[in-house]
């Protein structure tokens, strides 16, 4: 199949629709308005449900209802709106309802700005709402990945009964790139959900609930959730490495920033500095194995986490590197995106510091 030029937001929608998403609930917020706009046109064409909800709070609860009834359902928003959804996401996580939430991140905190940022990393990967839970978090770095990861998110979410999040910065949302669309999934291929509240009576009836009031019941339930997260950790960690085999300085970034880092790696190499890049594809589970493998190499002198935040993923990088090599940080915020030259400078400084500290 030939490639077509698509916006990141459209690619996300196509990835969802092509993997059986038949319910979308959203609310306008920049920079993701193209998602509800696109879905309002496409969803009726495939016989699905589209509702422009009265709020992000309502939208995530419509997802709770639809996904609870066994339909593949999605909502999308941007940072402030995703904060509003956190209550619902926590309930969904506890009730073990699979669904997909898209966050096209903008700059915060507060109402912040509408330009690209990655300040929601902690929120996305550490739970986000109240209680002990996690989402499966995928971070696309291209428009093709925006499509493919959304497609995959539905399968992962169904398989583990854990909600999945697509965490993308504003650039992914606005970028247009060639995309090869996956074929339309036959809905009959999607496994039956034997827990879905789609209308059953008497002894067959099903309950979806996140109220487990007795401590002797709640603890095993949360432990069971954790067991699933452990399983996800064992099976689903993904990262891309770029020229890391002999690298002295390893840059690490996710999303669009990783692409700027790769350009910086090439430029550093042209100057004789052996640089490489790790790009986490799954932010939860965090691909710590890729980092520890690089940290164990003699050639590796330092890591540099580059983020559109003031230092969030860097904490997971430090945990993964576990003190074996120094980990440094370079970040921009407020909607500013670092240029290749800035990253080159930061990488050289990091390498200098690491050598001085030895």
């Amino acid at each position: 199949m030939s490639k077509i030029l698509l916006h990141g937001t459209e690619a996300i929608c196509e990835g969802a629709l092509r993997n059986g998403c038949r319910a979308f609930f959203g609310y306008p917020i920049t920079p993701q308005n193209e998602v509800p706009e696109y879905m309002s046109v496409k969803m009726p064409q495939v016989g699905g449900a589209f509702v422009q909800a009265e709020s992000e709070v309502a939208a995530i609860n419509m997802v709770y209802g639809a996904a609870g009834a066994g339909i593949r359902a999605m909502t999308s928003s941007s940072s402030p709106g995703v904060s509003l959804k956190q209550e619902g996401i926590s309930y969904i996580a506890c009730a073990r309802i699979p669904c997909v939430v898209v966050n096209i991140m903008r700059a915060g905190p507060g109402l912040g700005g509408i330009l690209p940022a990655q300040g929601d990393y902690f929120q996305a990967t550490k739970g986000g709402g109240h209680g002990d839970y996690h989402l499966i978090v995928l971070a696309p770095s291209s428009v093709q990945e925006a499509c493919d990861f959304t497609y995959r998110a539905f399968d992962l979410s169904d398989r583990y009964r854990v909600p999945a999040m697509i965490l993308a910065d504003g650039m992914i949302g606005q970028l247009m790139e060639p995309v090869e669309l996956p074929p339309m999934r036959n809905l009959r291929e999607i496994p039956e959900k034997d827990w879905a509240t789609s209308g059953h009576y008497g002894k067959d009836r099903r309950i979806l609930n996140s109220l487990i009031i007795k401590p002797e019941d709640l603890e095993p339930h949360v432990n069971e959730l954790q067991k699933t997260y452990d399983e996800i950790y064992a099976n689903e960690r993904r990262a891309e490495t770029y020229r890391t085999e002999d690298a002295e300085i390893i840059l690490t970034a996710y999303g669009t920033v990783a692409r700027i880092c790769k350009s910086a790696v090439d430029k550093l190499r042209a100057q004789g500095i052996k640089a490489g890049c790790i790009r986490p594809i799954t932010l939860y589970p965090f691909p710590d194995d890729t980092y520890s493998a690089c940290a164990a190499r003699d050639c590796t002198k330092a890591f540099l986490s580059v983020e559109l935040s003031l230092g969030q993923m860097v904490e997971d990088v430090k945990l993964a590197v576990n003190g074996k090599k120094p980990v440094y940080f370079y970040g921009r915020t407020g909607g500013n995106v670092p240029e290749e030259e800035e990253i080159e400078r930061a990488a050289k400084e990091a390498l200098g510091k690491a050598e001085a500290e030895r």
Binding site: K3, G113, L115, Q174, R259, D266
Partner: protein, 177 residues
């Protein structure tokens, strides 16, 4: 790999010119990316987008240092001219802007895009005149690829297609001669 920054006033067709360029590159089997500046610029004021056309996969989609700048008005010409890579090309809409970039390490093409567009039948085709100049100056994509895209886009609007096509050809001719 060539990085092109297209800039101008909202309504001048900067974003659609960028999309034609990206579509044409895609049709030729090249790697392309198109990144519109969004934010306050979306509503009136200035508009710009970054297009990259490459043989290999594109890493950074940003055009902070463009190889080519297309500036359809004076403010964007003066704002972005200093960023253009040394040895690069600037195509400036001479109908509404001076062409003094204040540097001599770039090639400045003074293109009367509005005049060419008006001669072609519609001032709104100035973006296509600039695209013609770009194709003539860089050979980035084939002429026919752009024409094909125009035909596809304006299949139901033969008059619009004619104006755009004539403006595109006028831009080509202006640089070739």
């Amino acid at each position: 790999m060539i990085r092109i920054l297209l800039a101008g006033q909202g309504g001048q067709g900067v974003l659609s010119a960028g999309r034609f360029l990206a579509e044409s590159g895609l049709h030729e089997g090249k790697e392309v990316s198109y990144l519109p500046a969004y934010g306050p610029e979306m509503r009136g004021g200035t508009a710009n987008c970054s297009v990259i056309v490459a043989e290999d996969p594109i890493a950074s989609p940003l055009c902070t240092v463009p190889d080519v700048l297309i500036a359809l008005n004076a403010p964007s010409f003066h704002k972005f001219a200093p960023r253009v890579k040394s040895g690069g090309i600037i195509i400036v809409n001479g109908s509404v802007s001076d062409a003094y970039a204040g540097r001599d390490d770039v090639r400045v093409i003074d293109l009367p895009a509005n005049d060419l567009a008006m001669e072609a039948g519609d001032i709104r085709s100035a973006n296509m005149a600039a695209l013609g100049a770009l194709v003539a100056a860089t050979g980035l994509v084939r002429e026919q690829s752009i024409v094909n895209c125009l035909q596809e886009k304006f299949v139901a609007k033969p008059r619009v297609l004619d104006c755009n096509r004539r403006a595109f050809e006028a831009g080509l001719a202006a640089v070739k001669k």
